[in-house]
Amino acid sequence: MTVHPWLPNSPENIKKEMLEKIGVGSVDELYRDIPRSVILGRELKVGLGRPLSEVEVKRIVQEKLSRNRIYVNPPPFMGGGVCYHHVPSTVKWIITRGGFLTAYTPYQAEIAQGLLQALFEYQSLIADLVELEVVNASMYDGSTAVAEAFLMASRVTRKNKILVPSTMNPQHLEVARTWTYGKKITIEKVGFNEKTGFMDLADLEDKLRDRKTAAVYVEYPSYLGFIDENIKKIGELAHSYDSLFIIGFEPISLGILEPPGKLGADIAIAEGQPLGLGLNYGGPYLGVFAVRWDRKLVRQMPGRLIGLTEDSEGNRAFTMILQTREQHIRREHATSNITTNEALMAIAAAVYLSLLGRKGIRSLAEHIALKAAYTASKLSEIPGVRAPALSSKHFKEFTVSFSIGYRDLYRYLKSKGILGGYYVGDKYPWLGECALFCVTEAHSLSDIKLLVDTIKEYIEKKVDKP
């Protein structure tokens, strides 16, 4: 092995000095306690079989990336739990500063005040967005935040049934089932109205009556994009049967929608990706997790918390708090096994929310709501298209149902450089040929026109010569 730039002690002369001081003849001797029988004794078959220079690595990786296809002009219209948003340059700038990027978890508070403060601010900004008092420093993503919320609800209430909407994000549901499998928690779907998508309150109450429900979960807006207007009532019902109420929200929508804290939520969780993160083909994202100011809840919270305090001279300082909930102290009795989380993404979200501020988040939310609604209405003008497919109100994602097969249309759109909605007809058969579309601040009016015209053109062609 030649000297490597990442391995400062790899030159032979340095190695030799070190081995001499240690008092061994070779590095092999430092492995002497490993049973010979398990020693590999050959080179690994990895990479291209030899160390590569930056020049070579860059070429290889960029060649591969060139075989990906991205949609820039227009940006993706695909929804399905995550949408394309513009990431402000300032956000990217900040999360590539070495003090944040290359730091560990701030175990040594005094030398990590900047990191701690940034995470404290993340917690604070989310707290004010959701109007709940306690926010942890992040979960892995929205789906695991849901799962941890279910586990937490079960711990708090010592019950193990969770009621969820029938229209719930199917991936989140799968993840929640995986995570709760060991704890024998059952997740049950509540009936719903096929026209609006709203939860069936009567069925909910039926299912609550055995008082075995740890929590009722509602998405706000839902996976299918609609806003369940009974959300407050659902929370009241949950509480009246001693269940917790968990809201899974979309963060930007809270610029204009009533926050979970005002809707009675005990726990609120979210996928934080809209707050300044790239699409990243699925990750890293950000699991947002907030609870009410209630000792019982806070003690059962998963994840890391940063708190404000003082140093020995009374200056403001920050440190990790309530660690007795965490695995490194409580081990098998911890509230979760999480340690590494998505801290850097939380900082990105803090920067994003700081940039927007109270006015920005509102105008962004308005912008998106109006643009999405406009797009839906334009799509609906096309014969054979209904958007949204549900009669209720929507925020940024919405269902579009077609009288023709969607998959061919989707392929046609791609051939025109447009990434259309995500097909959900298989999972929600009563919606027919249906897809989840998404419109955000990244889409211009002409992007929307292009989408609408292309769909129209295709459908007209189809109808002409079927």
Binding site: H4, I22, V27, R32, V38, L40, L44, K45, V46, G47, P51, V61, L65, N68, P76, I94, G98, L101, A103, Y104, P106, Q108, E110, Q113, L116, Q117, L125, D128, E131, E133, V135, Y140, S143, T144, V175, G182, K184, G255, L257, G278, Y281, G282, Y285, W293, G307, T309, S312, T319, H328, I329, N337, T339, E342, L353, H367, L370, K371, K393, H394, E441
Partner: protein, 511 residues
């Protein structure tokens, strides 16, 4: 006293910056055509409109940029100097990986795009999986778990499901007393009872104690090897035989792989399931606490249990395979922490087999060089057979200093900070009193290792002369010793600015 000192900005909270009316981000202006055709009151449910704006600060772009720049420069990372946190493998994060992942052809990919749109990326992930399987000596890997602990949960659930599928009722997970806290926590999340195993004086697992607890309730064992003392478990093959002998499975916590990369493989030691921490061993940055990536690899029939989707190749095209007949399900939404995965791919590609092996050797060389420097330094014990070579890390005990001068491991840590050095992991593993767990990794310079040893020696000398001075540290950091008691006191505990505000207004109770 060191001349080093950290910057101090006394930076206000972002809430204390800004002024009404300012913004830091311009939302695009809504086009007239849209404004004229849709009204907010028709678009959203009236009684769910937010009644009062969220209490976010109002700050301009320049203020935001300066604020977080100052904070970043008051946070010590690997870019600033050694961060020898044992068990954390805080190595240098190569910039080539950081550069290449900024590519829009990665960042702009929607996770639900068809496979045909992401052939290049899938090829990267497919190759990465193959390499990780080769490195661990396993058959297949799931790249989905976002961190080590999530990988452990996956492993524990796989073990649970494995026994269930065989119709066996096994609810005990064996875990050594020196294990990382995530092991028992993960086992418990998967519904297991945790059975604690002891460490013998050589630093190995106590085999007799193990034999005494295994049985038909044993679902499996969670081990890391080298263990958290930095010692290679000499009897690993016997352990494997014992646990397999009673029908249990072996889970490998890969957090400590750095010292044996390319030298021994978990699969060859008899492990059935393995997780890796790419943000430790494979050079992806820790981001102040994440994102990480914790792929899980498995052998033989256990492959069927891995979370889906897996990435497959049919000779022409790469695709995500969602089939899940026996699998434990999904561990997270979408396809994994892709950015760290690609960074780890670049890391392995860059180093190749020789480089990875050199990484292992360098990390072990560094540890043992440090031990040799500490040989004649008083004040620090090296528990568990000091004659055995350590691997990726070493654990000292500051007990002599505590006993003789009342100087604790924490005091030692804070004094290291004062020299511009990050502290070791302290008070872990739990079986070492006043533990100082030190891992320089492969990327630390000989000179910095020497400096670290020198400072530890100085601290021990000062302990004799002026122990109270040591308890005042740190003084060169941006703040002095932080008050953790107040931080956690139910009357003062302040996890958000909202709590501070409500408390000031008298609108919140003691927690």
């Amino acid at each position: 006293m060191s001349k080093w000192r950290q910057s101090r900005w006394n930076e206000p909270l972002i809430y204390e910056l800004g002024r009404e009316g300012r913004i830091g981000y311009l939302v695009p202006e809504l086009e007239e055509e849209i404004k004229n055709n849709v009204k907010l009151s028709e678009v959203l449910p009236e009684d769910l409109l937010r009644s009062s704006a969220p209490e976010l600060p109002e700050v301009s772009e320049v203020e935001v940029l300066r604020h977080y720049t100052r904070l970043a420069e008051t946070s010590y990372g690997v870019d600033h100097g050694p961060v020898p946190l044992g068990s954390c493998t805080m190595k240098y994060n190569p910039r080539i990986a950081e550069e290449l992942v900024l590519d829009e052809r990665l960042v702009m990919l929607h996770p639900l795009q068809d496979d045909e749109d992401v052939q290049g990326l899938l090829e990267i992930l497919y190759e990465l999986e193959k390499w990780l399987a080769e490195i661990t000596g396993m058959d297949r890997c799931s790249l989905q778990p976002p961190a080590g602990a999530a990988g452990e949960l996956v492993g524990a659930l796989m073990i649970r499901k494995y026994h269930e599928l065989r119709g066996e009722d096994r609810d005990e997970m064996l875990i050594p007393d020196n294990a990382h806290g995530t092991n028992p926590a993960s086992a418990a999340m998967a519904g297991f009872k945790v059975v604690r195993l002891l460490t013998d004086e050589r630093g190995n697992l106590d085999l007799e104690a193990l034999k005494a607890v295994v049985g038909d309730k044993t679902a499996g064992i969670m081990l890391t090897n080298p263990n958290t003392l930095g010692l290679f478990e000499e009897h690993i093959m016997e352990i494997a035989d014992i646990v397999h002998g009673v029908g249990g499975l072996l889970y490998y916590d890969g957090a400590n792989l750095n010292g044996i990369l390319g030298i021994v493989r978990p699969g060859d030691m008899g492990f059935d399931i393995v997780h890796l921490n790419l943000h430790k061993t494979f050079g992806t940055p820790h981001g102040g606490g994440g994102p990480g990536a914790g792929p899980v690899c498995a052998k033989g029939e256990l492959v069927d249990l891995l979370p889906r989707p897996l990435i497959e190749y049919d000779g022409r095209k790469y695709y995500l395979d969602y089939r899940c007949d026996r699998c434990i399900g999904r561990i997270r939404a979408f396809n994994g922490n892709i950015i760290p995965l690609v960074k780890a791919y670049i890391y392995i590609l860059s180093l190749g087999p020789q480089g990875l092996r050199e990484v292992a050797e360098q990390s072990v060389l560094n540890t043992n060089y440090f031990i040799s420097l500490m040989k004649d330094v008083e004040g620090y014990d090296l528990p568990y057979d000091p004659s055995r070579p350590r691997k990726h890390e070493v654990v000292y005990s500051a007990k002599p200093l505590t006993r003789d001068y009342g100087v604790t491991a924490e005091d030692v840590a804070k004094n290291l900070l004062d020299h511009g050095l990050y502290a070791p992991t302290i008070y872990f593993p739990l079986i070492v009193e006043e533990a100082l767990m030190i891992e320089f990794t492969d990327t630390e310079t000989k000179e910095n290792i020497e400096y670290y040893a020198r400072v530890l020696k100085e601290i021990a000398e000062q302990a004799k002369e002026n122990p109270s001075k040591l308890r005042e540290a740190p003084v060169n950091t941006s703040v002095k010793r932080v008050n953790a008691v107040k931080a956690n006191h139910p009357k003062y505990v302040t996890p958000t600015y909202r709590v501070l505000r409500l408390r000031r207004e008298g609108r919140i109770k003691v927690l």
